[in-house]
Symmetry: C2
Subunit: 311 residues, 2 copies
Amino acid sequence: MTVDTKAPMFERVALVGIGLIGSSLARVIRREGLAREIVVSTRRAETLARARELGLGDAYVQDAGEAVEGADLVIVSVPVGSSGDVAAAIGPHLAPGAIISDVGSVKADVVRQMGAHLPPTVHFVPAHPVAGTEHSGPDAGFAELFENRWCIVTPPAGADEGAVEKLVAFWRACGSKVETMTPEHHDMVLAITSHIPHLIAYNIVGTAADLETVTASEVIKFSAGGFRDFTRIAASDPTMWRDVFLHNKDAVLEMLGRFIEDLFVLQRAIRFGDGDTLFQHFTETRAIRRGILDIGQDTAAPDFGRGPKKS
Amino acid sequence: MTVDTKAPMFERVALVGIGLIGSSLARVIRREGLAREIVVSTRRAETLARARELGLGDAYVQDAGEAVEGADLVIVSVPVGSSGDVAAAIGPHLAPGAIISDVGSVKADVVRQMGAHLPPTVHFVPAHPVAGTEHSGPDAGFAELFENRWCIVTPPAGADEGAVEKLVAFWRACGSKVETMTPEHHDMVLAITSHIPHLIAYNIVGTAADLETVTASEVIKFSAGGFRDFTRIAASDPTMWRDVFLHNKDAVLEMLGRFIEDLFVLQRAIRFGDGDTLFQHFTETRAIRRGILDIGQDTAAPDFGRGPKKS
C-alpha cells in the first residue's frame, strides 16, 4: 500500500468554541495539515467575527448544529457547564461514524452531560489536553500550546477502538503526549494537580484584596516574594473555573478537605513553635519538584526564567 | 566640590552569610564598585571554600567576629533564626560608626534578636530585599537579582538619618527600589505577599504527595494544570522558611486565619452549587494581577513565558 503522506487525517473538523483551546487547535490543525476543512463555530457573533479576522478556519457558522454537519471530527471546547447544551444542539446533526470529543477539565460529569444527547451512530471519545495559559479567547491561542504537554483521553467502556486510536493519533500530531484513564480517575488527578491549585490561588488573592491593614498597592508592590505567581493563576477565565468547581464537586471537596487538614497541621506547628515538623515537611516536598524538572514539565531556570537574567 | 565618581560608597563591606542573597550582594557590590574591599564570612568551611573558588570577595574568614573588624558596612544574610547568635558573635568586634544591616524576611523579631547584642556605637538599620529564587547557596546568586525589585528598609525609632540614607543609597545602587516602613507593618505585608503563599505551596505539594488514589508519578506528569507553579515555590530553602514561620508567628497566624475563613466560603459555595459566588470571586481577583503587570512586577507573557513560544 502506498501511504499518501499529504492526506489529512480528517476531511472536515468542526471546532465548537474558539477560545484559548479551540483556537490553538485551529492553528495546529492548519499547520500540521490534519484536516481538509476547518469549520469554526461559536455562539457569540463578535467572537465568530474575530475568528474570521484571524483566519482560523475555512467556514464560520454561528449555529453549532449547522457547523457539525458532515464533519468527521467534532471538538467541543466550551466551559464544561455548557457541554450538555452543546451536545443537545449538535446531536441531531452529527454524521454517522463521526468522532465527537471535547477538551473539558472535568470528565465524568461531561461524559454524563454530553453522552445523553449523542446518537449511537457516532463515536464519543472525551479528552482533556492539560495545557493552557492565563489568557482567554481566540487571540490567546497558539499552535505550540500542546507541545510536550499531556492529553488525557477517557474513552467510555465499549468505545470503538479505531475511533480511540484515531483521536490519540490526532493529539500526538498536535504535539501532545497521550495517556488513557477512566473519567473518574481523571477527575481525582486533576482535582489535585489543577483544580485545588486554582481554588487556593483565587482564594489567597481574594484574602489579600480584603485586608484592612495592608493596602492593595502594597500587595501589588511587594508581590515578588511569592504572591505574584498565584495572581497569574487567579487571572484565568472565571466562567471556565466556576464550571470546573461546580462539575467536579466531589473530587474537589475530597481533595480540599485533605488540603485543609494538612494545613491545620502546619498551622499548629507554627502556633507551638514546632520547627522540626515544619522543616521535615518543607524538605519532603522537594522530591516532587525534582520529578517535574526531570521529565521536562517545567523550566529549571530560577524564578521561571523571568526578570533580569543571571550574568 | 569635585565628585570622585570612582570613590566606593564603603571602604570595607563584611558579608556574613554567603547564600543566594549574600552572594548576589557580593556580585553586585563588585560590579558596581560599591566597596573597596569585600570580606566574605560563613560558618561552614565548605561553603567558604566555594565562595573563594567563585571569587566572591577579597578576604574569606570563617569567624564572623573577625570578619566584621574594620568594616564600615556589615550585612548579615543568614536564616532569621540565627540572626541573634550572629549579632552576639559580631557585636564586640564592630567598628564605631559602622552600619549593620540584614536581609531577613522577618523584621520585628530580628530587630529584637539582633538589637540586644549590638553596641550603641553602631548604626543598626534592618532591611529586606523582596527578591529571590527557589535556589540556594553561593552558586545560586547573581548580580541582577535585585534589579527592579523592592527593598524594604525598617529603621528603628531614633535611627541615625545619615546611616539610613546611606543604606538606602546602597540598595538603590544594587538596582533596588526602596521603601521604608515599620518592622511590624513589614511583617504583616510580607505575611500575605510571601509567607502564606509559601506555606500553602508547601502544603499542597505535601497533600499531593500523600494521596493513595493518585500516584506521585501522575501528580508529576499532569502538573502543568497549575500545580507545577506551586512546586517551584515549595522548592525553596527549608531552613530559611522554617525560621520565617517561627519568627513571624503572629502575623502568619493572623493571615492564615483569614485565608482559611475565605477558603471555607468557597468550599461552601462549591458544596451548595453556588456558581454566582464563585464567579464573582474569580472575577474580582483579576484587578490585582493587572496592578502587578502595570507596575512591572511580573511578566505579561502567557505562562510566565516558559515552554514553547507563540508563533
